[in-house]
Symmetry: C2
DNA sequence: CTTTGTCCAAAAATGCCTTCATGTTTTTCC
DNA sequence: GGAAAAACATGAAGGCATTTTTGGACAAAG
């Protein structure tokens, strides 16, 4: 079934079929019906390749994601995909892992596939050193690049971020106000948003007059291995580090902190406070349930897609949008 | 930059450039070099559409997934994507949600995109009523269809499943042997694998002489809402149902059972046993850690991809492969 | 009856690559 | 040295839909 077959069956020209398909200019209702009927009856679908060749677009957006089994990223991908589909776009998902070369390769792959835009979910795509972000600028020379939770000021690159600095600042402030002073900051990524979070924490601690670099602690193992995170905390304590609260850059780390405290025989939240980040499903898995920061991911994703649609439609769109998070108070803080 | 430009720059015909690109038949090393140099120098990438039009394939596999933010499915997608990429294929991911029409629509969409095959992750794609599976058979008429954790005996449909019946049978048997007799079966899906699991549980209970349909309980709320699951269990108890163990069809349900038991003041595992399914990250989030069934997801995915590659290469491949799971004993059972 | 405008057919150009049949060069071997 | 075989390269024909141009048919308006 090609457009030729349909034009023959419907007794119209191929140009008319094409016009009906692309909903463009004037086609009389009668002709449209004839064509639609034929399409229906013979079950015709336009050849995507030929179409792409003609239109130079396939209505497909590329999504890059380091690891779709990460809770937060998975949700982001889910929301984005859903909303793109609602706008008539499809997605190609590439899980790159955390290796820089893989990211570049995936990016090129997507560009090669002629996607209409690329969405980078997660701040790990933007690096500290400028030349490492070259690949993003290069990509942006060819198509719009959307950044979720990362910022890069380049032409044709749009950033949608949650205000991680303020969120962390507030989380730390909140915990300080309950009287906990020796708060351990437990994080696992030095990415853009990771830095913002850390900065927010530091700012709050300095302001309160308790800055202590020893209490800033990075965990670099597997992002899923709660047990190893717990062991990490235990080791810190055994090495003489004293802390009665943990603020984590992610709920999984926070959950590990809860586990650690329980094993250490500390009561939560009386003796020990924990605040997580992302307000993921894990928040409710914990016992007691985690206080956590909700980044309004769905709103971010919605905004990202809306912005992208604007960009693709040729409108001038804001290059950067910041959304504030919300501290959800649950059982691990006073 | 088109193939014409390159052929001109390299001083050869476009056919030669094409052959170099496709690494096919005889091209002299000298010519190859000339072409490669030109490609390198001018930074040429073949137009994917034109290429697709010529080859009628884009080396892309469609993945259907009800919800990529489901822990198990997300991991499946991750493994599959990784392994496909290692084989030179890309993926288009469609998250369909659980509505039947959306599944059909997504399937058609993928076929329209001319993917080389479709992978259905999760047993929710196969329904009880035969006519509901029509869309799979229709799809299989055009391209290979791979089923993860579901079975459908149709031409060109391949199934890779974990042996849910046996796993559940073993899980129940194990718990019975520790002396727990009033085991509640807590599940949320009547999908293919859901049925197998249930059947396995029933078989074990009947064999042991304690069949009790009242203890088979379905939860139909959100798959992420642990709190609501917990409340559900509490309500059951309040309604007079008596049980000292829970076997769940998923770790999240199991986690809810753990939460419930704690709130009810029951000691785990002394007074109350819990066994989950999928051995997900949640298993270790729980306190104590969940006993759970590991379905060897990575092995399943590896096998799925291997089978698919075989099918695409035109080899005769097994239509169905069953892998046995493994009961991972942790802190919620004796 | 002419003008004007709408709708559509037919045909051709365009996009870019693959591939087959054909042509040309090089190698091989007596 | 020359013919046959092997190796390599070319030209042109697809593949399918979009878009533009030209012009025909028809209806309403002047």
């Amino acid at each position: 079934m090609t457009i030729y077959d349909i034009s023959e069956k419907a007794g119209v020209s191929i140009a008319t079929v094409s016009r009906v398909l692309n909903g463009s200019s004037r086609v009389s209702e009668k002709t449209r019906q004839k064509v639609m009927d034929a399409i229906e009856r013979y079950g015709y679908t336009p050849n995507a390749f030929a179409r792409g060749l003609g239109l130079n677009t396939m209505k497909t957006i590329g999504i890059l994601c380091a690891d779709s089994s990460d809770l937060y990223l998975a949700k982001a991908v889910y929301y984005i995909e859903q909303k793109l589909r609602a706008n008539g776009y499809d997605c190609i998902l590439c899980c790159t892992g955390y290796e820089p070369e893989a990211k570049v390769a995936s990016m090129n792959l997507l560009i090669g596939k002629k996607v209409d835009a690329v969405i980078l979910t997660g701040s790990n795509f933007v690096h500290d050193r400028n030349e490492d972000n070259r690949y993003i600028a290069d990509a942006a020379a060819q198509l719009p690049v959307m950044l979720l939770n990362a910022v890069l000021d380049r032409p044709n690159v749009y950033s949608i971020v949650s205000d991680d600095f303020s969120s962390m600042y507030e989380a730390a402030g909140q915990m300080l106000r309950t009287g906990v002073r020796d708060i351990l900051y437990f994080y696992n990524s030095g990415s853009y948003s990771g830095q913002k979070k850390l900065a927010g924490f530091r700012a709050a601690m300095e302001e309160a007059g308790f800055p202590d670099e020893r209490l800033i602690c990075r965990y670099s193992g597997s992002r899923e291995d709660i047990l190893s995170m717990t062991a990490h905390l235990k080791r810190l304590r055994e090495n003489g580090l004293c802390f009665h609260g943990v603020i984590a850059s992610d709920d999984s780390l926070a959950l590990a902190a809860v586990k650690y405290a329980k094993q250490a025989g500390l009561r939560i939240p009386e003796d020990f406070s924990v605040t997580g980040y992302n307000n993921s499903m894990l928040s409710c898995c914990s016992d007691p349930e985690l206080t956590s920061i909700d980044t309004r991911l769905e709103t971010l994703c919605q905004h990202l897609v809306t912005t992208l649609m604007g960009v693709l439609a040729g409108n001038e769109m804001p290059k950067k949008a910041v959304f504030s998070g919300e501290l959800i108070h649950r059982g691990t803080t006073r």
